[in-house]
Symmetry: C2
Subunit: 308 residues, 2 copies
Amino acid sequence: MPISHYALGLDLGGTAIKAAVVSDSGEVLEQIQQETPGSRAVGDVVAAIVDVVNRAVKTWSDIVGIGLGSPGLVDKKRRMIRSSPNFPTWVNVPLSGLISSRIERPIRLENDVNCFALGEYRWGAGRGFDPMLALAVGTGIGGGIILNGELYRGDSGAAGELGHISVDFNGPKCPCGGYGCVERYLGNRWFVEYARTALKDESIASPKDVSDLAEKGNKKALEFIQRQGEILGAACASLINIFDPQAIVIGGGTAQCGEPFFRSIRDSVKSRAYPELSQKVNILPAQLGILAGAMGAAAIGFEARRNK
Amino acid sequence: MPISHYALGLDLGGTAIKAAVVSDSGEVLEQIQQETPGSRAVGDVVAAIVDVVNRAVKTWSDIVGIGLGSPGLVDKKRRMIRSSPNFPTWVNVPLSGLISSRIERPIRLENDVNCFALGEYRWGAGRGFDPMLALAVGTGIGGGIILNGELYRGDSGAAGELGHISVDFNGPKCPCGGYGCVERYLGNRWFVEYARTALKDESIASPKDVSDLAEKGNKKALEFIQRQGEILGAACASLINIFDPQAIVIGGGTAQCGEPFFRSIRDSVKSRAYPELSQKVNILPAQLGILAGAMGAAAIGFEARRNK
């Protein structure tokens, strides 16, 4: 079958811009990666993005649209980054306008975890499931909500901050301002901090380290991963009672803690959510790996074309 | 302006069937109330509902459709009550079919708190707000979710169980199976239980009693109401970070704890949810009182006509 349409997706991260040219059936035709400019100045980042776009368009001249995923709060019209943890000096930066004046394709901006969710829904673990929720568990915990085949964005475009569900109203203060947010237990920094205490091992530097120890038979490491899965499962149980979803897809670095982690999430969900709902919901590991964000951005690129 | 259309809404409760004939602008043209048959047998309840419908149709012959709100789990096609706390022997009862064969109007079934949410959205405190969430805090805590002007029902029709958001994953066991559900702190029975302990007063029989004591200057009563508001606010903060809604409408008996209760809910939300979202969200007391359920059911009745 000939490839009828393809779009370009860009995933703007703090260290790299990952890009993928993706067909409408989800085939990745090309990957491009470029360093994010060290200055993190708007002008430099825009220039780097334009450069990636130009390289992609040179080879794939029929790109129908471009999606750009960025961390942070994207406004409802998806033209502006209101604020971003990776680019702390950016406030209300009209990123899509700055880029679109320099390229010849429609471009649309979207939150990076929303892109991840859409990518997994279109072409990954979430395919065929609707309503579908996605969680990216890494440095922080981000979320995305798919309802009726589309991203749910809320009143101002900020919906889906699923890492900031409080699982303990008396819990520790979270940098977001809240208390006991699920991110405050499972975000990398805290995952490691709690693991060091629980395992009495200051050499632990990542969730993967704990997972490796568990695999080697360290019982405390296994128990710790189960406890972390139980907490994430408690947040998932609330989400299940709220949304009655068909699936929750979980990705990000911490999802690589693998089967023991997923088993405890599922057990926690089964012992906490409404039985009618927990019995049928699918808790699935993400499938698209580090390209999920760029692929989801490409899905946004297809939308940019339709709405240009 | 002449009344062009009106629908009948029925609110099926454990003790009474409340009905209202409602115009499409939200005017209540007539109220009917009838006891729920003590037997709670399906046949008796169906007969009582048919009786109310016939009485209404006699006066208001142009009723375009009928909505029926019922507690419990209503299936997605809204023909069946899968289970109901008020009618524990009912399992998969095809209530709308049993009634529709005996009346001459289209009828549609809906969960009662969904009706409450839709009523407040169409004609009450939630008018003009979208996305809008509603919480009914009484015996239990029920919820309803309005997105794009419609009730969000989820995969199987069970979405919106907002009382079963866990606010403490280590919290007390809830009858639903979960732990630390917000209902487990604010549902009538527990509200009273915790209040008796906090105030060392076994005579407290309802949230209203605590509220009355607070109004009379009892400091412990006021503190207790504030603490309850803070817990409900923690659940609202999670909902705000998830949905980015324009408004949350709170009704039910406990909402009558009044201004101190609402003030502490709002304070809790402000100190817990994302500032960008908590600053703009409206936390509002419900306006339609005990008729909200029947009025919302009437809104469902208008839909029944369109989809018959």
